[in-house]
């Protein structure tokens, strides 16, 4: 593969990262809203997993939704893209571990990811597949999104232009 072809190939990978990045960002923003609105319900969801000790549950329930909201927004905007994608990947790994443990314990519960899912949608293998897909989208962004289609790219372009002037 020549240098030009390589550049073109990576350009395509970066372009694919754009919709994935925006999609995963929107998912995280939406997921954060009900948790911010009702931290008690989210704390109860965390407790239902029966993984974390009691003293960790509330700090987790209070902090995590705000992290989700912030990194969701930064992902949509393409600002600090790699850092946001890294944090989302870390969270997705954490969620996947929690889901797997809950499934091995045969817990019949909602994943607690979105308000509308309460009681209606029990966790199952399909939840694992969905989270794996989201982890894939976050990792794709982490690896291939160089920020050219977002605020990162625009700020970098503006800095370069200012320096040139």
């Amino acid at each position: 593969m020549s240098g030009h072809e390589k550049k073109r190939f990576y350009g395509i990978l970066t372009m694919i990262a754009l919709p994935l990045r925006v999609y995963i960002g929107v998912v995280f923003v939406l997921a954060s809203l009900y948790k911010i609105y009702d931290p008690y319900a989210f704390a109860l969801s965390i407790a239902t997993y029966q993984i974390l000790p009691l003293w960790v549950i509330n700090p987790f329930a209070l902090l995590l939704p705000w992290v989700e909201l912030l990194v969701g927004i930064t992902m949509v905007l393409g600002y600090w893209t790699r850092e946001s994608a890294a944090l989302i990947s870390g969270m997705m790994v954490m969620f996947l571990i929690a889901l797997t443990l809950a499934l091995t314990k045969d817990l019949q519960m909602s994943c607690g990811c979105f308000a509308s899912q309460e009681a209606a949608d029990e966790i199952g293998v399909h939840t694992i597949y969905r989270d794996l897909a989201w982890l894939g989208a976050a990792l794709w962004t982490l690896i291939f999104d160089d920020g050219r289609f977002g605020l990162d790219g625009w700020l970098s372009y503006r800095n370069k232009r200012n320096h040139a002037v």
Binding site: K7, Y10, T14, I36, P39, Y40, A43, L44, A47, T48, Q50, L54, W55, I57, N58, P59, A61, L62, L63, P65, W66, V67, L69, L70, V71, T74, W80, R82, E83, S84, A86, L87, Q108, F144, D146
Partner: protein
């Protein structure tokens, strides 16, 4: 797509971790501030354990049903277990019966199970109660490893036994 190397890489990594710290620090400040001014704020450390909804216990073993003839022939070696409420048990119960209240939501407590196992040595445990609770409790006990537990046929008029009469 090119990746930085050497000192430039160190700078990139440093910037990466500083940004990660900011992306975690800002939400922490927001969480503290919003929770502080929320009318029903959540304690940062939970004082009481959360009440988690558990699945209703499902019997994994079936107890054996016994008929009148069995009660007659084993009258001296039976341990009656009354599955009814404490109030009904207090009003009247079969001679020598022990009360283990059946709860549809919770399996028999381990302590009750151990007590029952220790006092039933050499005896046949027969559970009775109104409706189908005799069978439900017997199945629950059998599911928890109690061997040879039986229940009285629900059609059997065990209330006559309560009056001290053997049918």
């Amino acid at each position: 797509m090119s990746y930085p190397t050497g000192k430039k890489m160190d700078d990139v990594m440093k910037r990466f971790f500083i940004r990660i710290a900011i992306l975690l620090g800002v939400p922490l400040l927001l969480a503290v501030a919003v929770n502080l001014f929320r009318p029903t704020s959540l304690d940062w450390i939970a004082k009481e354990a959360y009440e988690i909804f558990q699945d209703c216990p499902e019997a994994t073993a079936q107890a054996e049903e016994v008929q009148v003839e069995f009660v007659r022939s084993h009258a001296t070696s039976l341990l009656w277990v009354d599955a009814r409420s404490e109030e009904l048990f207090a009003v009247k119960h079969l001679p020598g019966a022990v009360n283990v209240v059946y709860d549809t939501l919770f399996p028999v407590a381990e302590e009750d199970l151990h007590n029952l196992q220790s006092i039933s040595k050499g005896k046949t445990v027969v559970v009775y109660g109104e409706g189908g609770i005799g069978k439900l409790l017997a199945d629950d006990l059998a599911s928890q490893g109690m061997v040879g537990v039986k229940y009285l046929n629900p059609q059997f008029d065990w209330k006559t036994l309560l009056m001290g009469e053997m049918p």
